[in-house]
Amino acid sequence: MNNFALGKYMPLDSIIHRMDPRAKIGAMLLLMVAIFIPAGYIGYAVIAVLIITAVFLSKLRLNFIWRSVKPMMFMLLFLWIINVLVLRTGYVMFTVFGFKVYSDAIFQTLFIIIRLLLMIIVTTILTATTKPLELTLGIEDLLTPFKVIHVPAHEIAMMISIALRFIPTLIEETNRIIKAQTSRGVDLDEGTLKEKLMAILALIVPLFVSAFQRAEELANAMEARGYIPNRPRTRYKQLEMTFKDYVLLLLSTLILILNICIWKGFI
């Protein structure tokens, strides 16, 4: 678990950490779209410059970025090999043991890989510099306009934040149940299929029983403290856009426009 970096928050103090989550989510969406536009190397280079600047400003260590990308590396390599075997258009670049490798296989795949890498890094920056709770607040605010079409923005945000709140508690609980059942001779590594099924049942059933009880008690506690679903509430944590947030959004928009222009041949 400790080696898994994708989606993990890194508690540092940087300008990127202090940015408004809405601006960060907005910038991420704009950049995602920009990444999908086939704007050639120049387009990707511009995005890459912004992203590298952001990594630098966020004080995240390159090792951390590498760890979030690493799990994908095998997949990307696999993609490349498949494409080399399948794509047989363009000119022959070189020959390996009498097998002709075509230019399209190399370059088109390279584009795909660059896109995927950029997307992973953008997402990593967002999740590593934004507390899960702030992300939730950002999502809530961004969803608010959709209340008109009956998207329960607040309830969605409430559900996400409660889920986030209880993840550590449930992990702890799972560990305890694993230990308790191990003490009763459960062996998760060995045994016949039937025994393994029983072992899984011995973990899942208690976990569900206790999760349901927690849910009930939590609902009681929320109601007792005056929570009424679908009633308006105020919010303690207010988000505030500052100059730097607008700059980020502006830059992301400009990059998107630039890429569209390159794609459509205006430049």
């Binding site: 003490s183 009763r184 001779g185 025994e195 049942l201 011995a202 029983v209």
Partner: protein, 286 residues
């Protein structure tokens, strides 16, 4: 043979920035055939200590001898399963480990995991369900229909049915009402006296330590702070104060009266004796 810890250490998250030494070169001998209380503040390392007894945790340094086996940091997991049959570990709120359709099936689960055949498992289950005080008419009911206290008894029977020599209980009376807690402690006392089990109880309740245990082990900051017999332990009030322990009522009263000038011996731990002592002193003035 006693359970022996030799310079045992346990460090969590070894080799990471979050490394944390929970037990620091602990040496300890826990006598066989007794009821031993393990006490200490939350976070002192007592739970880490007991989880070594059935090798849920392996030492990161030193070793442990229990039930005729030696466990050290490089022990292979193959031998560990058999140990878990000999040392039964009951977790806090064990009712959360119940999962089967019927009570009897749930209690049979442990022994069957250790290769006991169906028939013998059922016999063992019935035996221990009776001992913990579950009605025969309930054996085929769902464990989820029982009250909290009853569920806990079933869960404990589930460990007992493995027929362990050593029974380790982590705060077995937490959340029970006083009567339920008392009955639970009486059960452990009986398991020790009638069935010869070595019993270890992690507890915060000093009344239980006083009334049902023979020995006390105090864990503090990953070290063994004290190990002695119960009556010896409640003699030294200075130690209790230092350990921030709220003594049992009889000890509190004894100490208050001693401070007020009553001539009461400091090893008195029985309420009847205390009454006699106070009565004779009051009468002596008449």
């Amino acid at each position: 043979m006693p359970i022996t810890f030799k310079e045992l250490s346990h460090e969590y998250n070894l080799g990471t920035p979050f490394a944390y030494l929970a037990l620091d070169h602990v040496s300890l001998a826990i006598p066989e055939g007794k009821v031993t209380a393990i006490i200490g503040e939350t976070g002192s390392g007592k739970t880490t200590l007991v989880q070594h007894l059935n090798a849920l945790l392996l030492p990161t340094g030193g070793e442990l001898e229990v039930a005729g086996r030696t466990i050290s940091s490089n022990e292979k997991p193959k031998h560990l399963k058999a140990l878990r049959k000999d040392v039964g570990l009951v977790f806090q709120f064990p009712e959360y480990q119940l999962f089967e359709e019927t009570i009897i099936k749930d209690v049979c689960f442990g022994p069957k995991n250790f290769g006991v055949d169906e028939e013998t498992a059922v016999q063992l289950a019935e035996k221990y369900l009776r001992i913990v005080g579950i009605d025969e008419s309930d054996f085929h009911k769902s464990p989820f229909d029982l009250s909290g206290g009853q569920k806990r008894r079933v869960a404990i029977a589930g460990i007992l049915a493995m027929d362990p020599q050593v029974l380790v209980l982590d705060e077995p009376t937490a959340g029970l009402d006083p009567q339920g807690a008392k009955e639970m402690m009486q059960l452990f006392s009986r398991l020790n006296k009638e069935y010869g089990k070595t019993v270890l109880i992690v507890t915060h309740d000093m009344e239980h330590v006083l009334h049902y245990c023979d020995e006390v082990i105090v864990v503090a900051d990953g070290h063994i702070r004290e190990q002695c017999e119960v009556h010896e332990f409640f003699r030294s009030v200075e130690l209790l104060k230092e350990l921030k322990i709220n003594p049992p009522a009889v000890i509190r009263l004894r100490e208050e009266l001693r401070e007020k000038g009553f001539q009461i011996p400091d090893d008195m731990i029985d309420v009847e004796q205390l009454i006699d002592a106070v009565a004779s002193e009051v009468k002596g003035h008449e």
